[in-house]
């Protein structure tokens, strides 16, 4: 049995209903299989703002939370989960059925509330958590990046932290491994596989670019044919004279990256999701070099 609360009102009690039976089991299964689709209530920052803020789901017994490995309370469709699309799908499954179940608050479940929720599923009015205005202002840029990438066909996959942050290999793969999506366990260096590694005494955009192109990467303007898919979309930045860093576009719309030997992530040095590597907080990596494609003939080592 699940308690579902649509967090939408400010003054009125939120619509809350109970889902039970096979439907409850099916939703729990979906949540357990897609752990990046939701955020535990205790991990969310202060809730703020007006309008639809997602669905709160609370399994109604300890047995259920243990059986499915879920927290007592979680939230989907907040705009904050790593696999937001999946959370949206679960919300789209729950809301149409809300009128079939009894309300457990004073708020009646009527079709106008349901309609309001359905209209808001895709666009939570206010994101929950540490979202700042500057992040919102970046949205147009994010769309622009996607559109430009679409001129050349690319592939993308969702952020797979379990794969990259496996304790057995996490320190053996760096940003170049992550961005090129090649887990070689060699702390790969641009140009090493082709025998022409970048000059360590001259860490510049041009020099690291030269190494990556030698490995088989392509600059953004040079579209890669479908026969060389998967074509991962990468961004290169440089800490002048010291080091370089790469990001890879994820299908969720943000950019993932792996700072050296540390775990892969999708947030910047300010803890904000990287929607745009050009404006993310990159610490000392102040030079933005450009966008690239990895492609199947590319070899890194």
């Amino acid at each position: 049995m699940l308690k579902v609360t649509a967090d939408i009102f400010s003054g009125r009690p939120n619509p809350t209903w109970i889902v039970d039976g096979q439907e409850a089991q099916a939703v729990l299964r979906e949540l357990a299989l897609n752990r990046e689709a939701w955020v535990a209530q205790e991990e969310l920052g202060a809730e703020a703002g007006l309008g639809y803020r997602g669905l709160i789901i609370e399994p109604q017994s300890d047995t259920l939370t243990q059986e499915y490995g879920l927290p007592q309370s979680l939230r989907i469709n907040t705009g904050q989960a790593l696999a937001e699309q999946k959370g949206q799908e679960i919300a789209e499954r729950l809301i149409p059925g809300m009128l079939d179940y009894p309300s457990i608050t004073e708020a009646s479940l009527d079709s106008s509330v349901q309609q309001q929720l359905l209209e808001n599923i895709t666009t939570p009015a206010v994101q929950v958590g540490p979202v700042t205005m500057s992040e919102r202002e970046l949205e147009p840029k994010r769309e622009e990046i996607k559109a430009e990438a679409a001129d050349c066909q690319i592939e993308s996959v969702t952020l797979n932290l379990a794969f990259w942050n496996d304790p057995n290999v996490v320190t053996q793969n760096n940003c170049y491994n992550y961005a090129s999506n090649r887990r070689t366990n060699t702390f790969a260096q641009p140009g090493r596989a082709c025998g022409h590694q970048y000059d360590v005494d001259n860490i510049t955009c041009d020099e690291v670019t030269r190494g990556a192109l030698c490995d088989g990467a392509r600059v953004r303007a040079n579209c890669v044919p479908g026969g060389e898919a998967p074509r991962w979309f990468m961004a290169l930045v440089v800490w002048p004279g010291r080091d370089y860093h790469w990001y890879r576009y994820s299908s969720e719309g943000f950019w993932g990256h792996k700072p050296g030997r540390t775990p892969a992530r999708n947030t910047d040095d300010s803890g904000r999701v990287v929607w745009n590597p050009e404006t993310a907080n990159r610490g000392p990596y102040t030079n933005f070099c450009g966008y690239f494609y990895a492609r199947s003939p590319m070899v890194v080592r």
Binding site: N174, C175, Y176, F187, Q189, P190, V200, I203, V208, W239, G241, R242, D243, Y244, H245, W246, H257, K258, P259, G260, R261, T262, P263, R265, D268, D269, R282, G283, P284, Y285
Partner: protein, 117 residues
């Protein structure tokens, strides 16, 4: 005993060996640190300076395999078990930073020094 400056993303981190007297001093400092009972949140996973990693051969580090010194704590790992100590006033980081002098370029030293202030 070897020290690694954990600061780079693409290139391998700079590493250097401690002189025997420095290694002894490090071990003494480590053993004097108070235990950290409430683990601080780890914030050292971004770009740029994250901390120092000290490794030893034989029993140089006592029973520990590795000591990771960051702004929030000193983590001494033995196999899969870690013990946490207070990095009081970031003194151990500052001491390790001084062992960098002359072994990495001055600009990198200055950058880390700025990160510690």
């Amino acid at each position: 005993m070897e020290v690694e400056l954990d600061a780079f993303s693409g290139r391998p981190n700079p590493r250097w060996r401690l002189h025997p007297h420095q290694a002894r001093e490090f071990t003494n400092k480590l053993h004097r640190l108070p235990r950290q009972h409430k683990r601080a949140a780890s914030a050292e996973q971004g770009l740029g300076y994250r901390g120092f990693i000290v490794t030893g051969t034989g029993d140089e580090l006592g029973s520990y395999d590795e000591v990771v010194v960051t702004s929030s704590s000193v983590r001494a790992r033995s196999g899969s078990v870690s013990h946490y100590f207070e990095n009081q006033d970031r003194a151990l980081e500052r001491w390790l930073l001084e062992t960098m002098r002359g072994r990495v370029d001055q600009a990198l030293y200055t950058y880390v020094l700025g990160s510690l202030s």
